[in-house]
Symmetry: C2
Subunit: 344 residues, 2 copies
């Protein structure tokens, strides 16, 4: 299956190949590989360029860390991050491996300094949640033989990066089909930010379900926002105050759906009698809102557990059978959806 | 202030003192201190007994770890654990210190094996959340010069253990006063498990507020349960189906209060018109329930941040000014409380 691993170096690339290519000593190449600072910047740049050109990857090196993996969150958001942490910890504690946790304050790429700290203090591997490395940072980790896996709902990551996600298009399709089957014809979508691919995948599923049913989507009812409750509340109020208000709203997260429930109440609308609401994620809290949320189950703990197992395998030199796993999303019907008033 | 540090050894206790006391070589005492296994069990036991008797503590040893602290949770419960994690991470990331996370699956004491793993891989310090060490484990960590701090709502921890908590009695008092001032006279309490001291402290605050107002507490309305939504739901249904049902319920957590809200709805009671409900914790979700919860703010992030700063100080050899800090709890009034129906 080497054709699926385009970033692997030809087997013949050694430190000597690089030294020869750049015209420096093997010791100099070794210094660059080990992150030592006693190499002239210009020389370092030429060695790094050659390493990249030759797709050099340190092979068969035993992990020299302390039996730890690093879990890096985009941010500690409400609900989501705890589910991921539970899934990862179940695997690491079973394996007797220490788990270090950090977050990037909402950034999607770690700062340069972060990689320096990581390399002075080698983990067995790194798990990224909703964040990822720049191409140069990826090359750097590969050269050091530190494997990494991404947990992401974004299904467009490179095939070279092992990634565990879930099927967002399918989630969008299932939620929208459920509403259409109940008889709704004016359905609003509040998705996450448009620059996050999972938002667009869900919106595409929303469109596909309409196409199947031969129902036109009113573009006025498709909104993008954050995943927090405030976004659901703000968009919910604007949608529900329209004279041609929707009879159903499909939200981007369970927390966002709680914002929609509040907006409905402020507009004097009962859920589900006057308005159907669907969440996304199936967090524990979604069973306890009033009314309990119909939602799409995103198997966050399983995603995290599988990604951790993949990472521990890579740390032992075992390539995963496939580099991209999407877990199945499912509809969970509770109390917040019903046929629209005119059909009852 | 040596009188406040009863576990400090007399300055003259050295390894030689211990060796002399037990009648073994200095090398043997050193092996026991370093956790080596090549010491006869009987000899080890005698050395450890002497170390304990002399309250031996390794002094002035520089932390030899990798700049990491260990954060140990009782369990990853809903909401609470994430707030603590946020508070700790804010301090460790600022200090450039790695944060390792683990949980004890609901146990309140780490298993014996846990300490062995910790000692082979020294952290700068350990932060325990709602869990703690057995006395022998505490002595062991002290001898190794690894400081630890406890984040706990339980205000009865030993003065020798640095602990950050919050004032639960005050929380119970404030919540109950608020309900009494609104005119409620039949108020129910659903607290946490009775073997958790914070539950009893809040119940004592509940009683004190009644005493202040000259209102008798009906013992039938005082319940103990878990902190989860199901406990709130179960107790809520049982309380609200009584012919002499309470007009207000003070719950043990915001999540538990969500269970009470559901029970009220199932009994056809409106909140706050027919029933007032107060939560505890002031988690982010409490602002988004329907109705938004009146609750007691427990400053979880601040508690975690202060405990972490205390721990990092101890790792640098700085004794905290006081070993027990309780942060203030405050009433947050939202929509779930109102005067009882007969007063409106």
């Amino acid at each position: 299956m080497t054709e699926h691993r385009p970033l692997d170096p030809p087997a013949s690339t050694t430190i000597a190949t690089i030294a020869n290519d750049v015209g420096v000593s093997i010791a100099t190449v070794s210094k660059v590989l080990n992150g030592r600072t006693d190499v002239a910047p210009d020389t370092r740049a030429r060695v790094e360029a050659s390493l990249d050109r030759h797709r050099y990857q340190r092979r068969g090196r035993k992990p020299s860390g302390d039996g730890r993996i690093d879990l890096v969150f985009h941010e500690f958001d409400v609900g989501w991050a705890m589910e991921i942490l539970r899934g990862v910890e179940a695997v690491t504690s079973e394996a007797g491996i220490r788990l270090a946790v950090s977050q990037l304050d909402g950034a999607h790429r770690p700062p340069a300094r972060w990689l320096d700290v990581l390399l002075t203090d080698r983990p067995l591997g790194v798990l990224f949640v909703l964040c990822h490395l720049a191409e140069a940072q990826q090359m750097h980790l590969r050269r050091q033989g530190i494997p990494f896996v991404v947990v992401d709902t974004d299904s467009a990551t490179s095939a070279a990066v092992p990634t565990v996600g879930s099927n967002n298009w399918n989630g969008g399709l299932l939620a929208t089909r459920h509403l259409l089957e109940l008889g709704h014809r004016r359905i609003a979508l509040i998705s996450g930010p448009p620059d996050v691919l999972c938002s667009r995948a869900r919106a595409a599923g929303f469109q596909s379900a309409h196409d199947e049913a031969g129902v036109a989507v009113d573009r006025e009812l498709v909104r993008y926002g954050g995943f927090l409750a405030t976004a659901g509340h703000d968009h919910g109020l604007r949608l529900l105050r329209r004279p041609d208000r929707p009879t159903a709203i499909f939200a981007g997260s369970d927390i966002q759906a709680m914002g929609v429930l509040r907006a409905a109440r402020q507009c004097g609308l009962r859920v589900p009698e006057d308005l159907s609401v669907i969440g996304y994620d199936n967090l524990p809290v979604s069973a306890w809102t009033d009314p309990a949320l119909t939602t799409i189950n995103q198997p966050l703990r399983d995603m995290a557990g599988i990604a951790t197992q993949m990472l521990l395998g890579l740390a032992r030199g075992i390539e995963p059978a496939t580099s991209r796993i999407d877990l199945v999303t499912e509809l969970v019907v509770r109390e917040s959806t019903a046929p629209p008033a005119h059909l009852r």
